[in-house]
């Protein structure tokens, strides 16, 4: 029997690491992985709360988040491949053509 607060703290920790990953890394693919880590941390919180309240809706929502994440990864990686083709780089600092 583990208190739900432990799961929430773990989820918060993983979310924070994902957010820091998005902030400090320059490689677009690794930034993308940080986003996946944040989605995953949110899913963990959903499942923990679904278990606490004994309602399946939380788990169903995780199912939908997984679907959206799959679609997002397909589109995002396609965008990264396209950017790499035109710029020969996926360093986010070098992609600054729209800078005002």
């Amino acid at each position: 029997m583990i208190p739900i607060s432990y799961y929430i703290i773990l989820s918060a920790l993983l979310f924070t690491i994902g957010a820091v990953c998005v902030l400090i890394r320059r490689n677009a693919i690794i930034i993308f992985m940080g986003i996946e880590l944040m989605l995953n941390a949110a899913n963990l919180a959903f499942v923990a709360f679904a278990n606490q309240h004994q309602v399946l809706s939380g788990q169903i929502f995780v199912f939908f988040v997984m679907t959206v994440a799959a679609a997002e990864v397909a589109i995002g990686l396609a965008l990264i491949v396209t950017i790499f083709r035109s710029k020969q780089s996926i360093d986010v600092d070098q992609i600054s053509s729209l800078k005002g």
Binding site: M1, I24, I30, N40, F63, M66, T82
Partner: protein
């Protein structure tokens, strides 16, 4: 300390360690493999939280399909060319500071609201099984389920159109 708690903490160390490995690894392939490890530990947490269907979906969809796609793109672009210059030191310090503030905020909000914390224990075996999820998904959540099929179709067409040579 109960067996459950020891198991939880050991897994938590692996999960957070893998996340930190993703954060600090220089090599994109290692980062992807650390993320796979993180996804698998979270799948084990789903099993502990009475969500066996989601645990299997996590392993097949996240650790399987999504990460294979990531590794495929890393290999396609070539790991040598993906080397980027080092981060600015001030950016790193600022990001870590912001991260600490974010974590403190979440923890403070939760501790302020969650005074009557219940224990997470064992529920019936039906809860979270493929059968239970299926019944819920095809009765109460049928319309959102159908909409996800359109979302996946649009995602597939988008990926093909974006990467098409022309």
């Amino acid at each position: 300390m109960s067996v459950d708690l020891i198991f939880f903490l050991a897994l938590a160390i692996v999960a957070v360690g893998a996340a930190l490995g993703l954060l600090f690894s220089r090599n994109a392939v290692y980062a992807a493999l650390f993320l796979v490890l993180n996804f698998i530990t979270v799948a084990v947490y789903y099993l502990l939280l009475n969500a066996p269907f989601l645990a299997m979906a996590q392993v097949t969809v996240y650790a399987g399909a999504i990460m294979v796609l990531f590794l495929f793109v890393i290999m396609l672009l070539g790991t040598k060319k993906l080397k980027t210059r080092g981060e600015h030191l001030w950016q790193r310090r600022l990001a870590i500071g912001l991260g600490v503030i974010l974590f403190a905020e979440i923890a403070a909000l939760f501790l302020a609201k969650g005074q009557n914390v219940l224990m997470v224990g064992d529920i019936g075996s039906k809860f979270g099984s493929p059968e239970g999820i299926g019944i819920e998904l095809f009765t109460q959540y049928l319309l959102p389920f159908e909409i996800t099929s359109i979302l996946l179709l649009v995602g597939m067409i988008g990926a093909i159109v974006l990467t098409k040579d022309d």
